[in-house]
């Protein structure tokens, strides 16, 4: 059973890493807005610089 000497700290470390990640996300304000982020992934506003082909396609459609 000596293997427990290694396994238990490893288990605790992994759990602790999860805890630290959660506390970090909480501190950095990721829980302040539970609605917005799911929509932000659909926002293409950051692609504007090289969106010429898209714009061209849009013109064709309209």
């Amino acid at each position: 059973m000596e293997v427990l000497i290694y396994l238990i700290p490893i288990a605790l470390f992994l759990g602790g890493a999860g805890l630290v990640a959660f506390l970090w996300s909480l501190r950095s304000g990721q829980y302040d807005d539970m609605e917005g982020p799911k929509w932000r992934i659909l926002d293409d506003g950051d692609l504007q610089e090289n969106s010429a082909p898209v714009e061209a396609a849009k013109r064709k459609v309209s």
Binding site: M1, L4, I8, A11, L12, G15, G16, G18, L19, F22, L23, L26, G29, Y31, D32, D33, M34, E35, G36, W39, R40, L42, D43, G45
Partner: protein, 739 residues
């Protein structure tokens, strides 16, 4: 008439890295597209560093370089995009983040981590105990559990320990007292067992208990945060600021918190007065309906007192801010409000009432167990272990979740029905109501004046009247302009302050104004007043033809008659108590079919009447909006305000309803009745659970495994039962039917 410049410095704070920062409440954000539009628009402004919309709270946070730009273009841009925005007064929004929520969430995360890891070790011990674990390994596992549990109990338990300490210090008993005793005893006993290298330790129970209770606590907090942030937005969007007159005579728009007694404030025609004070120059008529319930306009002049919430009609007033002076209405309201609030604080929440019954019983049972086993000849140490296990298994885990879980589900349903709760316990108090007292002005009727459809004007004439009305800032004219949807003012319209507007159209003179201004005879006016006692009259005259009357007034809310009928059918006693004059109240009562009504009530009269009803054993719901209603809102068993109510009344009410319809009052009562039913079920489940568990514990059969199963089992059952409320209520209410 340009708006006075705004004093931005009062709204802007500086961030740590030297940027200017402002938080704004934004009205009109309905979907994600609004979010992109606002953020992208603002990012393009020169000097704006960061703009982020919070889609859940409908708030915008902007950081900019103070040297490159100022807030004016930011607010102007939002205006152009079609959003009404107003910055938060930093003095009123205490902390930017949700500090309490984050503390609970951190405690929850840590107890969750600890509960999982200790359970991992505990399961090994339980299965080992059943097979062949050697005492060294078990002791090792217990020590690791202790190492995880002790800091967790200290950190995550603080929230409960603090509240229990406060309760005991003031000589009360709340739910947190038995929780604290249970958790501390479970941890202490386990520690002792660990040192003794005994077979059982209850670290998992102690930590899991904290985890479940923190879930309940967080739910409770979420519910409050949602309504509070919504209420804060509404208050901010009302833009409660005042045009303060500077030393050089110019006017500067400042938030109310920056005004002090003695400052002078400018109120232009058609503006709402936002301070209490004495008129130093100017004459006008004020609409006091929001303050006293009186619908007739009141002439005021130099030296007269005016109250925040009243509407200035035609004159420009300069008002000196005064504190509530003795003998004024405001002073009386404040005094009555204080007394009424004291009375309300005597109410004890169901959960605390339950724990007041519960704690002594459970603690006595534990003591009897200890004494009983010792008398039966057991050594004191194992007897103490059994007694403590009684306390552990009865620790009010299910009881701690029973009420908050229902409150969270119910407040979600309230939200769908456009009712915001100020107090979580309002649900339990609403459920017992049997008598409903309504205020008339602004509650049964709409807070804004509107144009009645009973008139003889043709569509063309009405349009003309609307265009004439645009040239006047008088509230009655504005109501006509709104109703006709007029866009273009007539170019040569002249306004005679306090009388009316006239213009010449194609050579024909047209007049819109007071009946006397248009030459309406007193007889004709009196006849009209008999037909519509609750209206004010505006006359319209084209050329030499006889003038025609338009009635403008605060008419019934949408669905008022319907809601009152439904409430009567549901068995509630309905009364109207109004500060308005007799004719108007009588008319409203007749239209709505309410038999019991009283007019010209002062705040004290309203309270006396409510106290009388309470003395008869009735449970009174007060629905009101005016400053004169505030004390009675606090005096009633429970109270609701429309969102248009004055600030003081909204703060005194237990719930606020949105929109122009009166229907939310009915839904609130229906939902709370069902919620109360589920709360009672949950309390019953907790009691049954204890009745089964306690005999086992007293006999000494409760191992840590049994404690863990019983505790999580009861918590889950109670939570699931609360969720069932959604189905119960969903069958009879129609969420979003008017949204």
């Amino acid at each position: 008439m340009s708006a006075p410049e705004r004093d931005w410095a009062a709204f802007v704070t500086n961030t740590d890295d030297g940027k200017a920062h402002m938080d704004l409440a934004v009205d009109g954000i309905t979907c994600a597209a609004c979010m992109y539009e606002i953020e992208r628009g603002l990012q393009k402004l020169d000097g704006v560093e960061k703009a982020r919309v919070n889609l859940s709270s409908h708030r915008l946070s902007v950081d900019w370089d103070g040297e490159k730009t100022n807030p004016s273009p930011i607010v102007d841009l939002l205006q152009r995009l079609g959003y009404k925005a107003y910055p938060f007064d930093p003095a009123q929004v205490k902390s930017r983040g949700d500090a309490v929520g984050k503390e609970i969430l951190r405690a929850l995360a840590i107890s969750g981590f600890a509960a999982m890891n200790i359970m991992l070790l505990s399961i090994s011990i339980w299965s080992g105990n059943a097979s062949d674990i050697d005492p060294e390994t078990r002791s090792f596992f217990h020590w690791i559990s202790a190492l995880i549990a002790l800091p967790t109990v200290v950190y995550s338990g603080r929230i409960f320990f603090r509240s229990a300490y406060m309760a005991v210090k003031t000589g009360r008993l709340n739910m947190d007292v038995p929780i604290t005793i249970g958790v501390l005893l479970a941890t202490g006993l386990s520690m002792w067992q660990t040192v003794q290298e005994a077979e059982h330790a209850y670290f998992d129970s102690a930590v899991m208990l904290l985890f479940f209770l923190l879930v309940g606590r967080y739910c409770d907090h979420l519910m409050r945060r949602k309504t509070r942030s919504f209420a804060e937005n509404l208050a901010t969007l009302k833009a409660e600021s005042a045009a303060k007159i500077q030393e050089d005579g110019s006017a500067l728009d400042v938030p109310l918190s920056k005004l002090s007694v003695g400052d002078r404030v400018l109120v232009r025609a058609g503006e709402r007065i936002s301070v209490d004070g004495k008129i130093s120059t100017g004459i006008s008529e004020v609409d006091q309906s929001l303050v006293t319930g009186e619908t007739l306009l009141q002439p005021v002049g130099e030296g007269d007192l005016v109250y925040a919430g009243t509407m200035n009609t035609y004159g420009v007033l300069e008002i000196e801010v005064t504190a509530a002076a003795k003998g004024t209405l405001l002073d009386e309201v404040n005094r009555l409000l204080e007394t009424a609030m004291e009375g309300r604080s005597k109410y004890v929440h169901i959960a605390d009432r339950a724990s007041q019954l519960y704690a002594p019983v459970v603690h006595a049972a534990a003591l009897l167990t200890l004494v009983g086993w010792i008398m039966l000849g057991m050594a004191w140490q194992p007897a103490l272990v059994i007694a403590i296990s009684v306390l552990i298994i009865t620790c009010p885990c299910a009881l701690g979740l029973a009420i908050p879980a229902v409150q969270v589900v119910a407040s979600g349903l309230f939200f769908n029905e456009r009712v915001l709760l100020n107090a979580g316990d309002a649900i339990e108090r609403l459920a017992t109501v049997d008598t409903i007292v309504f205020d008339k002005t602004g509650t049964l009727t709409l807070p804004e004046t509107s144009l009645s459809e009973k008139h003889d004007l043709s569509a063309d004439q009405l349009e003309l009247a609307g265009r004439l009305a645009l040239s006047s800032s008088h509230p009655l004219s504005q109501a006509i302009a709104r109703a006709t949807g007029a866009q273009q003012a007539l170019p040569d319209a002249k306004e005679s302050a306090g009388k009316g507007v006239e213009a010449i159209i194609d050579g024909v003179p047209a007049k819109l104004g007071s009946p006397a201004f248009c030459g309406v005879s007193d007889e004709q006016l009196d006849q009209a007043k008999v037909l519509q006692p609750d209206a004010s009259f505006v006359a319209f005259q084209l050329g030499d033809k006889a003038a025609q009357l338009l009635s403008v007034g605060q008419f019934m809310r949408e669905g008022a008659t319907d809601t009152i009928q439904k409430l009567k059918t549901a068995g509630f006693t309905i009364e109207i108590l109004s500060g308005d004059h007799k004719g108007a109240v009588e008319h409203a009562a007749r239209v709505l079919g309410v038999e019991t009504w009283q007019a010209a009530m002062k705040p004290q009269d309203k309270i006396d009447h409510i106290e009388e009803l309470k003395a008869q054993g009735k449970k009174v719901l007060m629905v009101g909006d005016g400053l004169n209603d505030a004390p009675s809102l606090a005096a009633a068993n429970v109270s609701i305000s429309p969102v248009s109510a004055v600030h003081v009344s909204q703060a005194a009410a237990d719930a606020v309803f949105l929109g122009d319809s009166l229907a939310p009052v009915m839904s609130a009562l229906t939902i709370s009745k069902k919620a109360r039913w589920v709360m009672n079920q949950n309390l019953a489940i907790s009691v049954v659970y204890n009745m089964i568990a306690v005999p086992f514990a007293v006999l000494g059969f409760v191992t840590p495994l049994v404690a863990a199963l019983a505790m999580s089992g009861s918590s889950i059952i109670v939570t699931l039962n609360a969720v069932r409320l959604r189905m119960l209520a969903g069958s009879s209410t129609q969420p979003n039917s008017e949204a």
